[in-house]
Symmetry: C2
Subunit: 244 residues, 2 copies
Amino acid sequence: MRNIKLLIEYDGTNFCGWQRQNNGRTIQEEIEKALEKVLKRPVKIHGSGRTDTGVHALGQVASFKANITVPMDKIPLALNSLLPEDISVKGASEVEEDFHARYSAKGKKYIYQIYNGPLRSPLLRNYAYFVAHPLDLNRMQEAAQYFLGSHDFKGFMASGSCVQDTVRTLYKLDVYFHENLIKIEVEGNGFLYNMVRIISGTLVEVGKEKILPTEMQKIIASGIRESAGPTAPAQGLYLAEVFY
Amino acid sequence: MRNIKLLIEYDGTNFCGWQRQNNGRTIQEEIEKALEKVLKRPVKIHGSGRTDTGVHALGQVASFKANITVPMDKIPLALNSLLPEDISVKGASEVEEDFHARYSAKGKKYIYQIYNGPLRSPLLRNYAYFVAHPLDLNRMQEAAQYFLGSHDFKGFMASGSCVQDTVRTLYKLDVYFHENLIKIEVEGNGFLYNMVRIISGTLVEVGKEKILPTEMQKIIASGIRESAGPTAPAQGLYLAEVFY
């Protein structure tokens, strides 16, 4: 039995997210179906975490165990020939027996993209959040600093989540212009449900001057979901990298 | 009667090209339908040129005449509220009576995007040409020089076209890496049918070392379509700008 780690890119637009479900096309199901064709038996894969409907991945990681004789460097092409066009396996490697894509993850990097301009961009409609109101990048950058370090991010979690420990550590939260986009790049040891989208939605409120950067500390400390900004839409979010 | 110039961006993926036709969704038809709703009467618009199925535009230009009282700066938002998400009017201005988007055009700029890597990218599948074979950028740049200036581009025109004068002048043909893409940026006083896609397809053959850069001169001079490379696929092509 070998333990295999896959690196996966996908366009989340036409998926009902990562996790297999009864109704709706999911990334997990497509990959499991392709693996079953290669291995001639059902295989269950474990993702580093779920992504929601419309969320993209540049570097999702999944792992599975199988008796597989195909050389590792042949796996991506073999799977891609069976996968739909909106998923691509970008790498495969054999890992230690106890490696698990989710439980072994030490951290993650997400990128959130905002298209800020007076008129919407058709080419970016599925790949960035369109904000027509001019955003003040300096204010967003100032506000971002308050998120760094370890905090109880309870107020930045989708209501209804039932995680016990809501303390997470962010190592990086950069906000910058890149070509015609504002990018929010976040790295941390873990993320609560919708956390990056709520942080992004809150930074957009700061950019619109509806929230002062200096209010961040109080908003985070409050632990109240309603104090933070709205959840920014799914299509701007990319799971960029998983750290092990 | 005012003469109006529109600047238009679109994602060509789900269109059967620019030009109105009986079967199939087109950009021209969508804009004419939106204009009709605003102006309460049918309007015919003239594009700077057609784009094919799957071809995108960052800066397509169209013109039309109408008795319109809406201020110019309100037109983009008014039209966008009626247009589907894959089209956006990015600007509107009043122009001289004799302006015509097609006949007044002095030149155009196109960008052709290639994703060159071992494995396909789902996020770029509709926005770049995926070439797995490693491309030699230096050779492509060397070959590009031969296209500059005035040439009879008969060999770089889709067979079946019935244009009389096939001489065109290219002012610019830059090939460069940008992030994870190879971009081919072309400016000229006019383009034959499929010309940019055939030039791009030929440069890809050069990048694969199937054609020598120094053969370009002979291939162009031959005027034979079969001497040039294949027509690169539509999804890599962007009409970037029209010059007046």
